[in-house]
Amino acid sequence: MTETAIEVNDLTVAYHERPVLWDVDLRVRPGALTAIVGPNGAGKTTLIKAILGLVSPAAGQIRVLGRSYREARSEVAYVPQRGSVDWDFPTSVLDVVLMGTYGSLGWIRRPGKREESRAREALEKVGMEAFAHRQISQLSGGQQQRVFLARALVQDARVYLMDEPFQGVDARTERAIVDVLRELRERGDTVVAVHHALQTVPEYFDDAVILNVRRIASGPVGEVFTEENLRVAYGGRVPFLQGVAGGASAARDSPPPPESPVDRRARPEAT
């Protein structure tokens, strides 16, 4: 295994005249769960999309598993924000999960029995096997999120990039996602997730990247989650700072996160 799962060098991304990411350097440890945190408009989603080659950087270089994204693509899975698709689309849960196999199938070939059994396995892992033939518009937000997670699991990747997997989900889904993340870590896979609820970072993740257009800090959560780093990132307005900085022990007592779990469609991130 390479010594870094994802390597980002001097990455700069700009939309029109506004820089969204400035000169970001980053190394993601393989086999670890890494959270990307930062205020709204910090460029978290953009960072994920830049790694996936979905936005073209103004400058900088990205290596995934020591290769370019194009070369490493078959070993990368992506969980986009739940609100990025139309859930009224006429398709079933199983069908969406099967989309995770499209990359390895190549042109024209259709998914067959083998792909279907893999999709069912993935659904089982997220506790959604009973919903395989359900139409996707009949799912709750948490169930939708688990379907997206299952779609990524089907990709059978080594690196998982997730954009706010915990956004607006119920407690059961949150537990299911955490279980999956831990299982992936046990297998030695790498997970990078954009995360909003600061108080759960120490509990759920090993490493963290604190981002606000540029990289404020990155490394093991215990080292990175200092009052000063968070204050720099959030501009000094971090009311729940005491609960977070200093590790997981205090996390339980902290007040709720600043973002209420609203529908993402109603409040798209400004990136």
């Binding site: 979905l54 693509r73 986009p80 689309f89 006429p90 990359g103």
Partner: protein, 378 residues
């Protein structure tokens, strides 16, 4: 003419059979491909493509002097495609939104088309007459070789649709995820849009520039109401499109100078109205019945709760009867009290002790406890 005569005409009259085959084929192709346009919120792109095709038809005629369908269809396709690229270019390179870009391309291309048509009309050939049918369409002008052209082009488009089914589905549902697994989104998008261009230009002669877009949207919108599966939706929309095509061409072939396009559009619109109202689950009627059922259940539950509250004042006694008037006072403005009581009685939860006086049965008390007690408890 009776319906029976009409159908025998459809089977045995050479001209009508030809026309019906042609409109059925183009209806099927437009309906099937329209599903993707509707799902991708590009319903009005078809309108822009169709209008943008007009200058292509005119120019093709002016340049070649031929009014053979393949020549005109090629011209229409090129112009329609260029119009689409213009829409894309305007949206990408400026602050003009898609709606305005579509409106500009649609109307300006059409205007240019009208200018070109004035040149066509000045030609001293008899051929000029044909081009006007492209505005509203005249199915009667379809010849067998036109039908063959429609069927072969449309068939080819459907084959491509089937081949790249998985790619088109992914593009329509989640293009970003598609890009992350290596789907060349821009190219697949162009391919799908090109198929839509084909579906539209093969319909111009029979349905016309002005209304062909409805044949793209209406069958898809109708089919969507009946199913939650993309493949079923596409097949159903193709079927509805073909049906609308046949019905429209039959009516317009009866004479009276009714153009085919509007008739086809009305049949397809009727399919949308019926689907919206009566489709199971998604239909408005189904929704209304569901809602009424829920409301009724809630009303029955409310009466059960009131009876239970009254019974609780008497130590949950199942013998003490309460007059309907008391219950009505507790119900305030909710109606249907008698019906709710009857519903409770039929489920064995309440009984009418004396006329107009009710109390809960044992089962009713049990039911009320499980329903309401957890909320009553602190």
């Amino acid at each position: 003419m009776s319906i029976g005569e009409l159908f025998s005409l459809l089977l045995f009259d050479y001209t009508l059979r030809t026309v019906a085959l042609g409109t059925a084929a183009l209806g099927a192709v437009a309906g099937a491909l329209g599903c993707f346009a509707v799902l991708r919120r590009q319903s009005l792109l078809g309108d822009a493509i169709a209008h943008a095709a007009l200058p292509g038809i005119g120019l093709a005629f002016l340049l070649t002097g031929s009014r053979a369908t393949p020549v005109l269809v090629l011209g229409a396709a090129l112009a329609g495609w260029i119009g689409t690229l213009f829409v894309l270019w305007i949206v990408r390179s400026s602050r003009i939104r898609e709606d305005a870009a579509l409106g500009i391309v649609l109307s300006v291309f059409f205007g240019v088309g009208l200018v070109i048509l004035t040149f066509v009309q000045r030609r001293p050939t008899a051929a000029q007459a044909g081009l006007e049918t492209f505005l509203f369409g005249q199915a009667a002008t379809l010849l067998l070789r036109d039908v063959l052209l429609i069927a072969s082009l449309g068939g080819a488009a459907l084959v491509v649709l089937a081949l790249f089914w998985k790619e088109f589905k992914l593009l329509s549902f989640d293009p970003e995820f598609g890009a992350s697994v290596g789907l060349p989104v821009t190219r697949v998008d162009l391919l799908l849009t090109s198929l839509l261009v084909v579906a539209i230009v093969i319909g111009l002669q029979a349905v016309g520039v002005v209304l062909i877009s409805a044949l793209v949207v209406a069958p898809a919108a109708a089919a969507r109401q009946w199913t939650d599966s993309l493949s079923v939706m596409v097949v159903l929309a193709g079927f509805l499109g073909a049906l609308a095509g046949v019905a429209g061409s039959m009516v317009s072939s009866l004479g009276g100078g009714i153009p085919t396009g509007p008739t086809i559009v009305l049949v397809a619109s009727l399919a949308v109205i019926i689907s919206l109202c009566f489709a199971p689950r998604r239909g408005l009627m189904a929704g209304f019945l569901r809602e009424r059922g829920t409301r009724r259940r809630l009303r029955v539950d409310a009466v059960l709760a009131d009876l239970y509250a009254l019974a609780a004042q008497h130590g949950e006694a199942t013998s003490h009867a309460h007059p309907v008037a008391v219950l009505r006072a507790m119900q305030e403005r909710r109606g249907g009290l008698e019906r709710s009581l009857e519903a409770l009685e039929s489920r064995g939860l309440a009984r009418e002790v004396r006329p107009g006086e009710w109390c809960l049965t044992k089962a009713g008390v049990e039911r009320a406890r499980t329903l309401f007690l957890p909320e009553v408890a602190p």
